[in-house]
């Protein structure tokens, strides 16, 4: 069903779009990088964060456990309940030993990086690369493997979304100012009505989280409750 949702907040001296009409059924949920390596405090980046950046690890894993992961699960349940698409975008190498990365690229340097001992892009088949089990991805849900922060830069997601008649993209996941923000900027710039659910996202600090969600370039930011309240009436 079509209906208006609040869009941009007022800004002094600027023209803003204060509400925008959307078709509720043309909405998909995109969950970004909610993988074991990124959300399990004892695996993936966890040990390095705890040993070198203890305060950061404490903040990040608490935020995930008490805020972002429950909210992401609630969003997933809502979208499934209303038979709307859920898409999982996951980071990882395409080829073992990073042979898919250009050798001159900073990513290859990051992959070879010895100083932290933490590989960020995991090889195919790695157990920690798997989606966080509680999300239980289903066979009829797209799982897109990407080598970049945004799936728009290393998958055909744009094509899939248009084929699936998706006009509105709701985004949650990690990191708020990393993969989430980059994805939201791409989606918004390409004309999707893009909403980041900020309390279903997590970053390494409040400063990082704010950097990714306070400003919204061609996308808007809502809380989970706002999103469900505003989208709910339009998805019947």
């Amino acid at each position: 069903m079509r209906g208006s949702v609040p869009w941009q907040r007022p800004r002094a001296g600027r023209y803003v779009i204060s509400e925008w009409e959307i078709e509720g059924r043309a909405t998909a949920l995109l969950l970004v990088d909610l993988q074991i390596a990124n959300v399990d405090s004892e695996r993936g980046v966890g040990p390095a964060l705890w040993s070198r950046y203890h305060r950061l690890a404490s903040y990040y894993y608490d935020r995930l456990r008490y805020q972002a992961l429950p909210a992401a699960l609630a969003l997933e349940a809502f979208f499934r309940q209303h038979d709307l698409p859920v898409i999982h975008a996951c980071s990882g190498l395409a080829l073992a030993e990073g042979r898919d990365l250009a050798p001159w690229s900073w990513r290859a340097a990051q992959a070879r990086q010895p100083w932290s001992g933490v590989p960020l892009l995991l090889p195919p088949g790695s157990a920690e690369r798997q989606i966080w089990p509680e999300l239980e991805p289903r066979p009829d849900e797209l799982v897109l493997d990407k080598q970049t922060l945004s799936p728009f830069n290393s998958t055909a997601i744009d094509q899939y979304l248009r084929n699936m008649a998706v006009e509105n993209l709701v985004i949650a996941g990690v990191l708020s100012n990393g993969a989430v923000e980059t994805t939201a900027r791409n989606a918004g710039d390409r004309g999707f009505n893009t909403i980041v659910v900020e309390d279903a996202c997590a970053a390494f600090s409040t400063e990082d989280h704010r950097a990714g969600t306070a400003f919204g370039s061609w996308y808007v930011v809502k809380s989970k409750d706002e999103l469900l309240e505003q989208l709910g009436p339009l998805v019947a």
Binding site: R14, R52, T148, N177, G191, A214, S217
Partner: protein
């Protein structure tokens, strides 16, 4: 010539502290330094309150005292060293902005209360690049109709054809079009240096400008001042003038 330059601070496990770059595969992208975006007398949205006026004057100073002179320094280096120079310009390709996505089209066509339409279509006077940093014949000027060049222009095709691997990016506005372009370049694997004192946001958007520099320097690429960058690049190459050759067609 290849050499290592400082890259990112080791603030998190994925930081890359030093990176080897090849000056033979280096280019500069100057983003949207056009009259309608980056000239105090041509940009719309006249300040009405004292606070807005102060912010507008601060923005004007940044553009005239930092952005333009530093962009000129960067362009001189790239031209003297025969490296590709690329400009992007933001605007609608069609006069009624039909080529833009609906929200952007609405924002573009809708004038602010006491100013002309916010942005200018291709070919209009406001679309032109500021004359102080004008492209030379043979330098690539890429039209785009959204914030990020990789979403809305063939820039990637051109960068690959030019064999570029490391990009220096500057221009306006830091948070929207510069971030959009630099971020996607870095995400796609290019080694990207954002030149912080050759970038400007819009008036009153210092927090957003700072957020871009913060996030970019952490997760995507390097952030440097013009002086820092030029001294590192000079150490990498012998400056030479290549008569008759300029970057890209």
């Amino acid at each position: 010539m290849r050499g290592e330059i400082p890259w990112q601070k080791p603030d998190w496990p994925g930081a890359v502290p030093w990176l080897e770059i090849d000056s033979d595969c280096l280019g500069i992208v100057v983003v949207d330094v056009q009259l309608s975006c980056a000239h105090p007398e041509h940009t719309p949205g006249r300040p009405r309150t004292d606070e807005q006026r102060e912010l507008f004057e601060a923005w004007t100073r940044r553009i005239e005292e930092l952005l333009i002179p530093n962009t000129q320094r960067l362009l001189s280096w790239f031209r003297e060293n025969g490296r590709p120079v690329i400009f992007t310009c933001v605007g609608s390709l069609l006069p009624d902005a039909q080529d833009q996505h609906p929200k952007r089209r609405l924002s573009w066509l809708r004038p602010s209360p006491d100013a002309p339409p916010y942005r200018s279509p291709v070919g209009s006077p406001g679309y032109a690049i500021r004359p102080e940093i004008a492209p030379l014949p043979g330098e690539l000027v890429i039209d785009k109709n959204a914030s990020g060049a990789f979403n809305s222009s063939p820039i990637d095709f051109h960068l690959q054809a030019l064999g570029l691997r490391t990009l220096v990016v500057c221009g306006v506005s830091t948070f929207a079009c510069v971030d959009g372009t630099a971020r996607d370049a870095a995400d796609r694997g290019y080694n990207v240096v954002l030149v912080e004192d050759a970038c400007a946001g819009s008036a009153g958007s210092e927090a957003a400008h700072d957020a871009t520099l913060y996030t970019f320097g952490k997760y995507l690429g390097a952030v440097k001042t013009t002086s820092q960058l030029l001294s590192e690049l000079d150490a990498l190459v012998q400056p030479r003038a290549l008569a008759g050759r300029s970057g890209g067609d």
